[in-house]
């Protein structure tokens, strides 16, 4: 689905919502000016066109009706076998599951590569008794929440997969460079709370610069 398709679906949603309670008129003069009624007209014309030239009723639907009417027609064994095989091969994998698995694979690959290539002598983070909740590498800590103001957003879309890098500055002046899947939902200047998986800190930077992957973005209350 390309960007125009996405926006088109958004537009159809709006037309459907706006049609709720909207008086329908199919007069030519009105259809020239009203996109809501033109959309309804197009759908209605399509339905009536189909009704005028109906396709043969599917065997499953006919069987269902006969069951409702109290009669169960004998379905030949080959037809039943084909139907069972067809159902068995009809694999349903939700989009969110595919996206989640892909993100997990990327994160796992990235994390493994990062772990394998880390400097052995590096002690990170610097231990400090006054700051007990310091960031630690991904293999020692899962997520944490940071608050701050979005300073910039850079596109990181690649191979059709939408992503961006969000730069955040918190009250202490620390900077967070956060990789985020999908399109931006905030803008520079927005105050946000972000949950992220932190994986690295730029050595020697002052103020500190942290890098991570966003798991959730919320506008600050």
């Amino acid at each position: 689905m390309d960007r125009l398709d996405q926006l088109t679906h958004g537009l159809l949603d709006r037309l459907d919502r706006d049609a709720d309670g909207h008086p329908f008129s199919a007069s030519d003069a009105h259809l020239d000016e009203c996109l809501i009624c033109l959309d309804r007209f197009v759908e209605l014309r399509d339905a009536l066109h189909g009704v005028a030239t109906p396709a043969p009723v599917s065997p499953r639907l006919a069987t269902r009706l006969e069951q409702l009417l109290g009669r169960t027609p004998a379905v030949p064994l080959p037809v039943r076998l084909v139907a069972r095989v067809r159902r068995a091969l009809d694999v349903r994998i939700p989009v969110w599951a595919v996206t989640g698995i892909a993100a997990a694979v990327v994160l796992l690959t990235w994390g493994t590569a990062h772990y394998a290539s880390r400097p052995i002598e590096t002690e990170w983070p610097v231990p400090s008794p006054t700051e007990p909740d310091r960031l630690r590498p991904a293999h020692r800590q899962s997520t944490r929440t940071v608050s701050g103001v979005v300073s910039s957003i850079r596109d990181a879309t690649s191979n059709g997969v939408e992503a961006h890098v969000l730069s955040l500055r918190d009250a202490s002046g620390a900077t967070y460079l956060l990789f985020t899947w999908g399109r931006p939902t905030v803008r520079p200047g927005d105050a946000v709370e972000i949950e992220a998986l932190f994986a690295a800190a730029a050595p020697g930077a002052d103020p500190a610069v942290y890098q991570g992957v966003v798991t959730e973005v919320r506008r600050a209350k």
Binding site: G10, D20, L35, D39, E43, A47, P94
Partner: protein, 174 residues
């Protein structure tokens, strides 16, 4: 026919079935379901009508009956997809789907509004082409319903979509 169906006349239901199947398949076009899933949903909707939903129809015209049946089928599809936690493309009037508000970001909402104004500014025949394509009609079906040659329809749609993309690109939406 509706009255005879309501009275439980088997022959009326058999005559009603092809009509209902066509309306149902068109109502489900935008959901991008497999044929087996579409058949299941139409069969469930049929069972719902048979068990009493058809008695709720208060209209008197074919257009009103078509609208009523579309709503029954689409509501059933939305229930099924919500149960599976899958994306639902559009909601008909009266349907309330939790995903709709907030599904688009601020920038997307502005772009959708811009697209709406752009489409509203097209010629009527281009508006119809866009809406038919958006609602999932195949080019062959659009050709049949508009009386234009299929090749002409295909090139008109391609040019129209390219114009819309160019407008959206100029606006910063692509």
């Amino acid at each position: 026919m509706v009255k005879r169906c309501g009275d439980g006349d088997p022959e009326a239901w058999r005559a009603f079935l092809p009509f209902f199947q066509e309306v149902g398949r068109r109502a489900l076009r935008a959901f991008r379901l497999s044929p087996a899933d579409a058949d299941d949903i139409i069969a469930d909707a049929l069972a719902s009508l048979y068990s009493g939903s058809l008695a709720h129809f208060r209209g008197g015209t074919t257009a009103e009956l078509v609208g009523f049946l579309r709503t029954v089928v689409r509501n059933r599809a939305i229930d099924v997809l919500k149960h599976r936690n899958r994306w639902v493309p559009t909601a008909a009037p009266g349907e309330r789907v939790a995903h709709e508000s907030g599904a688009l970001g601020v920038a997307d909402a502005e772009c959708v509004e811009f697209l709406r104004h752009t489409v509203a500014g097209l010629k009527r025949e281009d508006q119809e082409l866009y809406l038919m394509k958006a609602r999932g009609l195949k080019e062959r079906e659009i050709a049949e319903q508009t009386g234009r040659p299929p090749g002409t329809v295909a090139s008109q749609i391609a040019r129209l979509l390219e114009r819309l993309r160019a407008s959206l690109r100029d606006r910063g939406c692509l």
